[in-house]
Symmetry: C2
Subunit: 335 residues, 2 copies
């Protein structure tokens, strides 16, 4: 089997290497999975750079989400040939891996690219929209970093539920794509954000989602209704989150943070299956869709990451360890 | 009747004036109360300066808490002669006032000075310790601005419940008084706060109470256990609260704000009575006690505020509109 590892934290293009090793034997309760697709997410290369909130022990296997097919089973609960999502942070840039059967999320056959990206960003977007505030059709929410991967999924999932989304971006040029995806209004971040939001929406926000931190964090708080909730799930500004005491004290604004790994740890298997079943259906109906730029072989992982980090892509970049043409014994082949 | 009012926001020593006017007639459901004591709190002069989170319409009556005796009743639920706390923000620097009977908190006879200060600071301390986290004997909490009025009450109430309090102050000189009052450990605020707290307590904090904001806010978050709660109730630094996204996301730190007025609005009359009954007992047993510096007549309110704002006092300053010697028909006279 092949595995993309890093022995030290640093620039992924330099520290990543692909090694060959023997497949390990399966322990009781484990399954072996051939990895078919694994997307390259910003969190992957932030983690390899050692700049993520948690650092894995070294050497570490790269890649935090992926889709595969079960090739061998030692235990109950899953069958050979089943398409599965790997658990988050499993080290997915590999040709095959082993995992605890209970941690696998079985999926129906479908679009391998879209399904391979369900574990992290769509689940994050789904949970941001469901775990904190009881949102109803016609309610307003606001989000920063709206043209990120999670941001686009938030727009798509909110639109499917009739929830209005005020999207905050850094540049006006991001607006047309977000409006086409279903954003209700798009705002360029700045000191007048709250006033602009009030003027153009006439509404108070029930929920604010922030992945920027810095001053944006406090600006989102200003747009919230009294008792509203501000959930942070990232710090793209690389600055501390800032908020005036006033909204906390006089308007009872509540602040929380979201990390998928915590949810995955505390959710029951039934809850996890429920969330991913919902998301799989949303992929099948086309409600959830992300443009794909291109695929790379596992051997070309350094080139793949360099290409992804460079930016200016037309969509997502994925690793396809067994080639793009192979769904490995699936009944539906693509491309 | 006499009333301390301000017609514009500004330096209290300049804008406060004492006016004489006729007593208004009582509406149905109201009582008239002779005000016996009203403490001078920082929030009083911050409000007169127009720098509080909410601004009253002008002209406004000064003074946010006080103790009085019912002198006339138009309705059910309270008797003439009853000692009562006035509702928060009632405009207490007056010789007498009228209030909705349901908003009055009846108290047993006792130490008029100590009882007159129960409405705001002790209730705030009590609610900070009870509304957010279920604290048990032996648990640790941390608080900034520990040598403030609320901070001292937090220490006294926590001590009575066997809860350990890590107190954060700006100067080492505040430590002896806090330790004598029952603080478990005292720390001087600074970048190494979290490391020092861990070193000297060996504990993770379950609850952090902050009235400073700025960087202190984020430092308190660092000391919390995973899933711990940080409650802000003031911004003495006059800066925005700052917190790294990491503790929110990876350690599930929850941020809330506390304002007594919100609690007073949502609590039932029975809940309010319960809280003040607990606090009255704590005064009676001596668990709650604040040193008194001196009293002023209502006519000398400007001098009283100037004296209080100057600092360097040996305790609390109170307005006594009917003189220190008069409890007005109470059975227990003091001094």
């Amino acid at each position: 089997m092949k595995r993309a590892i890093y022995r030290e934290f640093g620039n992924p293009v330099k520290v990543l290497e692909v090694v060959e090793e023997d497949s390990p034997a399966l322990s009781e309760g484990q399954a072996r999975i051939a990895v078919l697709r694994s997307p390259i997410n910003p969190s992957d290369y932030i983690q390899i750079a050692g700049e993520y909130g948690v650092r894995p022990p070294l050497p570490a296997t790269a890649g935090n989400e992926g889709l595969g097919r079960v090739t061998e089973v030692n235990g109950q609960g899953i069958a050979v040939g089943q398409l599965v999502l790997l658990p988050p942070g499993a080290g997915c840039w590999v040709s095959e891996t082993t995992a605890d059967i209970r941690q696998l999320v079985p999926l129906p056959e479908g679009d391998l690219d879209q399904l391979s990206m369900l574990m992290v960003n769509p689940a994050t977007a789904h949970l941001l929209l469901t775990e904190y505030v009881d949102l109803k059709e016609g309610d307003w929410i606001i989000q920063s970093a709206a043209n990120s991967g999670v941001g686009h999924y938030v727009v798509q999932l909110a639109k499917a539920r009739g929830i209005n989304v005020a999207c905050v971006v850094r540049r006006d040029s991001a607006a047309p794509e977000l409006l086409a995806a279903g954003a209700t209004e798009v705002f360029v971040d700045g000191p007048d954000l709250a006033r602009e939001v009030r003027k153009r929406t006439g509404a108070k926000m029930k929920l604010a989602l922030d992945a920027v931190a810095g001053e944006t964090f406090g600006r989102l708080a200003e747009t919230l209704e009294d008792g509203g909730t501000l959930v942070n799930y990232g710090a793209m500004s690389m600055q501390n989150a800032q908020i005036a005491a006033g909204p906390l004290i006089f308007r009872d604004i509540r602040v929380r943070g979201f990390w998928l790994v915590h949810w995955f740890g505390r959710a029951s298997r039934a809850e996890r299956m429920g969330v991913y079943a919902d998301l799989t259906r949303a992929v099948a109906t086309g409600a959830l869709h992300v443009p794909i730029d291109r695929h790379f072989a596992l051997e070309d992982v350094r080139e793949a990451v360099a290409y992804t980090m460079k930016g200016g892509r037309a969509g997502k970049v994925l690793i396809a360890p067994h080639g793009v043409g192979s769904g490995m014994a699936s009944r539906r082949r693509r491309r």
